[in-house]
Symmetry: C2
Subunit: 447 residues, 2 copies
Amino acid sequence: MPYTQDIETCRETAIGGGGVSAAALDAALEAADPALDRLRGDIEGGRLPALAIARSDADLSAIEETAQRLAASCDDVLVLGTGGSSLSGICYRALNPVNAGPRLHFLENVDPEGFEDALAGLDLGRAGLLVVSKSGTTAETLSQAFALIPRLRAARGADGLAGAAAVISDPPAPGAAPAPLRRLAGEIGLPILDHEPGIGGRFACLSNVGLLPARLCGIDPKVVRQGAAQVLDGLMTGTNAAAIAPALGAALNVAIARERGLTQAVMMPYLDRFAPFAAWYSQLWAESLGKDGKATTPIAALGTRDQHSQLQLWLDGPSDKLYTLIFGAPLGTGPDIAPPESAGPGLDYLAGRRMGDLLAAEQEATRETLVARGRPVRVFTLPRSDGRAMGALMAHFMAETIIAGDLLGIEPFGQPAVEAGKVLARQKLAAMAGRPGGVGPGGAATL
Amino acid sequence: MPYTQDIETCRETAIGGGGVSAAALDAALEAADPALDRLRGDIEGGRLPALAIARSDADLSAIEETAQRLAASCDDVLVLGTGGSSLSGICYRALNPVNAGPRLHFLENVDPEGFEDALAGLDLGRAGLLVVSKSGTTAETLSQAFALIPRLRAARGADGLAGAAAVISDPPAPGAAPAPLRRLAGEIGLPILDHEPGIGGRFACLSNVGLLPARLCGIDPKVVRQGAAQVLDGLMTGTNAAAIAPALGAALNVAIARERGLTQAVMMPYLDRFAPFAAWYSQLWAESLGKDGKATTPIAALGTRDQHSQLQLWLDGPSDKLYTLIFGAPLGTGPDIAPPESAGPGLDYLAGRRMGDLLAAEQEATRETLVARGRPVRVFTLPRSDGRAMGALMAHFMAETIIAGDLLGIEPFGQPAVEAGKVLARQKLAAMAGRPGGVGPGGAATL
């Protein structure tokens, strides 16, 4: 497996009264067995393509062709999308920061200053465009596209842009009109890839949404899916929940939160290449389970940095968090960090060491320090920080979240509460007096 | 003032049972008056240079000279430091992303892969070095320096590096030997700026630690301090806590957490240029107040992105958070986002709008949606996202944190719990068998 999971330092036997009791964990694991059966049934029955896609022979040629087409004419690719449409792509980009291909710029917000900052210094004549919106109606993403497309067409011509662009969006329902993004793309000739049906935004990391940016960043989509498939294979064939990592993880989360009143779940990778993974996980966990007053709140962190920022609170603040640390296996790697004589005495502990040794020591020291204070720590270890490991961890946490939802009695796939805010934002925009940026009463610009 | 603070939608009268009652807020404000007196006494008595420095005539010429020296010979500057030594610099960098000066790269971790990734593609012959460690003994920062300095000296020669480097560290105590970083810098001729005495790392944003990176990024240190001084002036001359923004903020935080059992404090800027501010705030709040089982846990977010990631949980998950939103004043600014005819019907709400109008609508919709669910929302509004606003907000939150510490009976300036972890990491490193990265039994490299 591309990772291991160790929950031993979450147990009462290891850390005392802040840990989960054997009885509570066993009860959750017992409930996880039928939850697993339901999950397996959904995967086999075609009701969960977000996971099943990892084991399918799904054709990756559209991703490959699109990536090659964009790479051929782009130094930079502007990726418009937010939430589930951006976070997995950002994870893949971090895996290969020295990628020789086009640079990806993820525009997730609609701050006018940030938008112009992101474009400053780019040669729009060599910039490509990837627009991602599942619904095809996301106000932020549409607005970015409406602002940007005329500039890109001016810089590289209508045909030039079409050759350097792609759109990912849901296919229209039978008989329905296409959504605005899809219609716009069709009208002006931007190639369209389907947002594969039945896959929600935050579960789209193994689909076109995640894997096209991955491929543009030099990460092989096939290897990512292979990593995810290893987790799926274990899930489909494992004998019981305790032996299946995502089920064990779900049971742990639910049991310890209930028994010890935990309200927060910290996700702290120690690997820079997995830094954005904590943000991806935070959306997955929060949006899937934040319903009916339930769910712990995810907190994204980064080691070693947050040892110098959050650790004081974690050790001596309220005991209300489950800590998930992601370790690398860096022993003996990296540059020499041996102290020069000119630094003087007191540094013997660094003598003969490499940077990876220090990272290994810091990882373990953080775990032990938390444990000494009775705080529950779960550890994932990644032998390699590559696309296979990313695919595996993403599959793990998607399965863990779905199983946790089952244990909590929460439907994990919707996000009904945010719809009201979207409607309200549109109403506010429509009702603004004076239309200060007005382009005329009809309001329709032409592209 | 470079900002306004609005706490109205935190009150019980506005949001019902999740809001703070007048009685609870008044009680906290009453306690804040003597806390304010103590804070004023500390500032006037020279015991709080972290804040007082904003109103001093402190000489900024060392920052100016160092910045000019580095800018003259560097395309890139590698900044080694972590926690309080990096987070404020990262905030300033975000204010001017199109800076024509050298690019700053903050190396905060000791992941060997991340370290090499950060260096990849840089011309070390045109790279400068800034090493920041208050104590001069930070293991991560020393290790980075030991790994990097030989490479930089190889690329640009010993004198070349000295001309393109600077170190910020505490001056040695009278009669004491200099700490390793300071000794190393002295031995190999790297210019040293003092970490101004009496200023802790996370309170160092208005000192050399924050303002040298600021200046390198084209942000005027004087203007930052002017922004902070406006807050300080209000604090020194205000008549009572309710009329002084940081005192009101501290009272609100303490009162609502106590009365309503809140455990978390979300910080969500809607301005990309203030995105790293949430991480800076998170360290300040967590490390200052995370003691004796007290303090709410800070959570860094970013609008509009986290509307598509965390908002579902905030609306329908547990009611256990105070939300602080930072709004811009973007109405009528930014590019046109009017829908083209080719996008089809259903987009009238965007007609005649600019991107800033959408941001304004999103900001307000988020506040109103949270309020409709009875969640407490505090709003800061920044007329401009510049150095003055950053200085003012940093001074606000330093004062708010110190006053909250007083109200909670917490000493905000230490971080005693993390010391055990630092010792443990060193012990682990020293005890590693085999010394896999060994450079010989003596372990002393030469620079």
